[in-house]
């Protein structure tokens, strides 16, 4: 683990503005951000560990625990909200039987909500395993889940 994190660190200049990019890359690599990676980032970017932790907890897109194989992120930003994002999240919830933020370990799917993904023109937006899907309507939820669980 340490070596992989070191490689990621070495690919970035030691300036604090690259911290978020680092966190994304670590999450991409491991599926979550291990505590040790935060500590190493603090050393490398000369930011206090507490500040790194503050940053990583600020963004709901970052996870600090290993989770499920699949991850569905439902945007709850203003544009998505008015186009029915809350109902969308509810549909995912009821079909999987878990609340956003919880993991469904049986099906291997985690759903989470984020505050804005920045692509409001596509609202409502859902990210399925890193793939952005725009204009997702309630009817497509079952389809998305079947496709995912069928992939298992």
């Amino acid at each position: 683990m340490t070596e992989k994190v070191e490689t990621i660190l070495a690919s970035l200049p030691a300036e604090r503005r690259h911290l978020v990019l680092f966190l994304h890359r670590v999450q991409q690599e491991f599926g979550y951000i291990p505590g040790e990676a935060l500590r190493m980032a603090a050393d490398y970017f000369a930011v206090s560990p507490a500040e790194v932790y503050g940053l990583v907890t600020f963004y709901s897109a970052f996870r600090l625990k290993p989770g499920c194989r699949h991850e569905i992120t439902i945007c709850q930003g203003t544009a998505c909200h008015v186009r029915g994002a809350p109902e969308l999240a509810e549909e995912f919830s009821s079909l999987l039987g878990v609340k956003p933020g919880q993991d469904d370990l049986d099906k291997g799917v985690a759903i989470r909500t984020v505050n804005c993904l920045g692509c409001c023109a596509l609202a409502p937006v859902v990210v399925v395993d890193g793939e952005y899907q725009g204009r997702v309507h309630k009817e497509r939820v079952r389809e998305i889940l079947e496709k995912l669980t069928g992939m298992k």
Partner: protein
């Protein structure tokens, strides 16, 4: 040049302000109150509470006064019906998540008697249980805004309290997220322990991975307690004062050379309530550390105080009056010939106490007058100066630090050895000064440094030479001090790669450090006791001297205790000798050369002479052995007169009178009365004059010393002579190089960690600091009890990890309370093997 003045109007009143002032500061300086909860003098503005919003002419929006700078011709309104309405609405929102019944309860004045409202909300409910009642800043704002109701139902966050740390409790349910603790912790103290965690309604104050403060490298300076406007951070066990009268005593902390001004608070029944930094410049500027505020409180409060002297007659202890005890001490001392009497002073005593003690010793006979001084720091330096014909001990004024652009800490952890001085340095770092740390041991300042050079133990001289070589190569300009050409020739004897390899440092980090030294000058080199408490100390000093001379930098030794700068003067005047270990005195007792011993403070003594007189505030192990025990007042209840590390005299006068509390006599008075029974008179009135003359006089026989380069080849190991990497480097892997650090956490013969489990939890003198990699390698885990085997004996220790420590190196900082520890102290660096103890 007169300072420019900005003219503006506040509430129609023409006022003047300095450029750079905020509107809030300007209003306050003219006696105007603007409510605010997040602003605090000394902290960067945050504009979080939104209570200080003001109206400014020609600005469309209301602006936070704490973040708006004054401008010429500004017209400001600080109070209007609209503003107050807005503030009240904001305040109500703040209160929706903070128990607010205590702010508007009609029964509040009768609460104590009627106790009508025991539980007003969930924990801690109302005013009765809130430790901040009476000092809560919400109460002040509520009064100003005439709060009568809150539009929202109180929503308890239901978060767990932080209770796993000693001394400091955090209740997240009371927090108003003003961020003062975060700012003081990172911006002022540089601890960086606290941060905002999460976002939106889930935001809270937290630590890295939400660990306890103990596991977060918190030094327990307590600044968070001082700045919290509510009771979110509160000192464990300290309840609100309410209607109790609080007695205060300001004193100068004698426990290190920073000499912080502290304030002890006593309750009516004479119990110590708490110790705070004296904060005339606002809570942010009041300085205290865990040692002064919690350690001292713990020993002051937990140690049962003896009020009267104890006399041992025919093996039986008897509490006697002061007159009787002093008369007995005098008549017993008179039985001995002067050369059979020894006087030993140890630990933090006030300067006048030290003077009286030295004068008494001088009057008795100067031969056996000692200062117990395991560091023997200034002695070594003085010997070196004399031998080389140079003068190192330049006093550096705290107020002149801004002229230095780089600070180099060499084997000194300023954070724990002289916190106040460290914070002065930190101020300069915020202004853009650079920081280099060169240390083979554990250094709390390392993570703040631009370059943290963790060299191999005992290889400081090589590291300094490696820097010197780089400086000379990168900047080939001449130095006009004598001996430079010779130095250049000599440096050729040490190949660059050899120095780099031997120091154990990397090329890149040394290059960067040399670059900083050259580009950001002048530098101030600050070195500590560990630099001189190692076998190669002469080489260390010589290398440091040449480097600082080439850079035309400043040089400052950091003394461990207050008053240390007086010791050379006392040596000259009274023939005071220093005592680094106890063997010398124990040997003299065994041989019958010393028969009567008068100890001020504590001394790890195994032999007991015929007559033992011990004078200390508490009944220590040594006091129990004494024939006469003279209980003196501690710094918590006496005048202070101390000399800090820059040679400034700091003093305070006792004005504490608690009806319920009998006061003990101060050390200096006891010594003076004892001298009286011996027929001597001490001229205490003239002591200030003696101190002034010692501090102002030029070092004896040394007219400034010469500024010339030292010939390294006569001082340093000959090139090629070096046996190269040894123990822990290429030797047996289980052998560690252990650096013996300083420990100042003791007072009057008592170790704070010995008496207080809380203090032990945060600063255990029996920790064996290891790099986690070494721990894994040796099959250890944190918290494990181990024995450290050394050539001088074994120490029982507990494994503690820090990644700030160089692998292969261990660090201990024992309280010097046994002859074994004193011997290790004298070695500075030892080799040790870790053995796991049977569990």
């Amino acid at each position: 040049m007169p300072e420019p003045v900005i003219k503006l109007k506040i509430n129609g009143m023409a006022v003047e302000a300095r450029p750079g002032m905020t509107v809030l500061e300007c209003a306050r300086s003219h006696g105007l109150f603007i409510p605010s909860l997040c602003d605090l003098e000394g902290l960067p503005a945050f504009a979080g509470c939104r209570l200080c919003l003001v109206e400014i002419e020609r600005r469309p929006h209301r602006s936070p006064a704490c973040q708006t700078l004054v401008e010429e011709g500004m017209e400001i309104v600080t109070s209007s019906p609209e503003l107050e309405e807005l503030r009240l609405a904001t305040f109500e929102l703040i209160l929706s998540e903070h128990p607010y019944f205590c702010l508007m309860c009609q029964e509040k004045p009768n609460c104590q008697e009627l106790k009508t409202t025991m539980v007003k909300a969930l924990e801690p409910g109302g005013c009765l249980f809130c430790p901040k009642d009476g000092a809560c800043e919400l109460q002040r704002v509520a009064e100003y805004l005439k709060l009568r109701r809150v539009a929202y139902e109180f929503e308890d966050r239901g978060r767990p309290l932080w209770q796993s740390d000693p001394f400091i409790t955090h209740n997240p349910n009371l927090c108003i997220l003003c961020g003062r603790c975060v700012r003081v912790c990172s911006e002022v103290r540089g601890e960086n322990v606290l941060s905002f965690i999460g976002r939106g309604p889930r935001t809270a104050i937290g630590t890295f991975l939400e660990r306890s403060l103990r596991e977060s490298d918190c030094s327990f300076c307590g600044a968070c307690l001082d700045v919290c406007p509510v009771a979110a951070f509160s000192e464990r066990g300290v309840t609100a004062a309410r209607r109790q009268k609080i007695y205060e005593h300001s004193f100068i902390c004698p426990l290190c050379s920073s000499t912080c001004e502290l304030k002890a608070e006593y309750l009516e029944d004479g119990r110590l309530r708490r110790i705070l930094p004296e904060s005339s410049g606002g809570p942010v500027h009041g300085l205290a550390c865990a040692r002064g505020r919690f350690g001292l409180r713990e020993i002051g409060d937990l140690m049962r105080e003896e009020l009267f002297p104890v006399l041992k007659r025919d093996g039986r202890e008897q509490s006697v009056s002061w007159d009787e005890a002093l008369a007995a001490a005098g008549s017993l001392l008179k039985k001995y010939r002067p050369e059979e009497i020894a006087l030993v002073s140890s630990g933090p005593a006030t300067a006048d106490t030290l003077l009286a003690f030295s004068q008494l010793g001088h009057l008795l006979r100067a031969d056996n007058l000692y200062y117990f001084y395991p560091e023997a720091f200034l002695e070594k330096m003085a010997a070196f100066e004399k031998q080389q014909g140079i003068e190192i001990g330049k006093k550096v004024d705290f107020k002149e630090l801004e002229r230095y652009r780089t600070f180099v800490l060499v084997d000194t952890d300023l954070k724990s050895e002289a916190l106040a001085f460290w914070l002065e340095v930190k101020k300069e770092l915020r202004e853009g000064a650079r920081l280099l740390v060169l240390d083979s041991g554990l250094n709390g300042c390392g993570q703040t440094a631009d370059v943290n050079l963790r060299c191999l133990p005992g290889m400081e001289a090589e590291a300094l030479l490696a820097l010197l070589k780089r400086v000379v190569l990168k900047s080939p300009r001449l130095s006009f001090y004598p001996g430079y050409h010779h130095l250049l020739d000599e440096l050729n004897l040490w190949p660059q790669e050899q120095l780099t390899r031997e120091s154990g440092l990397g090329e890149a980090e040394l290059d960067l450090a040399a670059e900083i030294l050259l580009s950001s000058s002048p530098a101030l080199f600050i070195f500590g006791q560990r630099f001189l408490r190692q076998p190669g100390w002469v080489e260390n000093l010589a290398a440091l001297w040449n480097l600082q001379l080439r850079l035309e930098a400043g040089l400052l030794p950091v003394t461990g205790k207050a008053n240390e700068l007086l010791i050379p003067g006392f040596k000259n005047i009274f023939g005071l000798k220093t005592l680094a270990g106890t063997e010398e005195i124990e040997e003299a007792i065994r041989a019958g050369r010393i028969k009567a011993l008068y100890v001020l403070g504590g001394l790890p003594l195994e032999e007991k002479p015929e007559l033992l007189i011990v004078q200390t505030p508490w009944k220590t192990g040594l006091a129990l052995k004494a024939d006469i025990f003279l209980p003196s007042a501690s710094c918590l209840e006496s005048d202070s007169l101390l000399v800090d590390l820059a040679g400034n005299i700091r003093s305070s006068t006792l004005e504490l009178r608690i009806p319920e509390r009998e006061m003990k006599p101060a050390d200096v008075n006891i010594i003076s009365r004892l001298a009286g029974t011996l027929g001597f008179r001490l001229e205490i009135e003239g002591y200030r004059g003696i101190l002034d003359s010692i501090l102002n006089e030029e070092p004896a026989g040394n007219s400034g010393g010469s500024l010339s380069y030292l010939t390294l080849s006569s001082i340093l190991k000959k090139p090629g002579d070096s046996t190269g990497p040894e123990i822990g480097r290429a030797g047996r892997p289980e052998v560690l190089e252990v650096i013996v650090g300083d420990n100042l956490d003791h007072y009057g013969g008592l170790a704070m960690a010995g008496l207080s489990p809380g203090f032990r939890a945060i600063r255990n003198p029996d920790w064996l600091w290891l790099n986690p990699r070494d721990g894994d390698r040796l099959g250890l885990r944190e918290g494990q009890e181990v024995a450290l085997e050394t050539a001088w004996g074994n120490l029982d220790l507990e494994v503690k990890y820090s990644s700030g420590l160089r692998p292969g190196t261990a660090f201990i900082s024992p309280v010097p309370d046994s002859s074994l520890k004193l011997r290790l102290y004298g070695q500075g660096i030892i080799k040790g093997t870790v053995r796991i103890k049977n569990e």
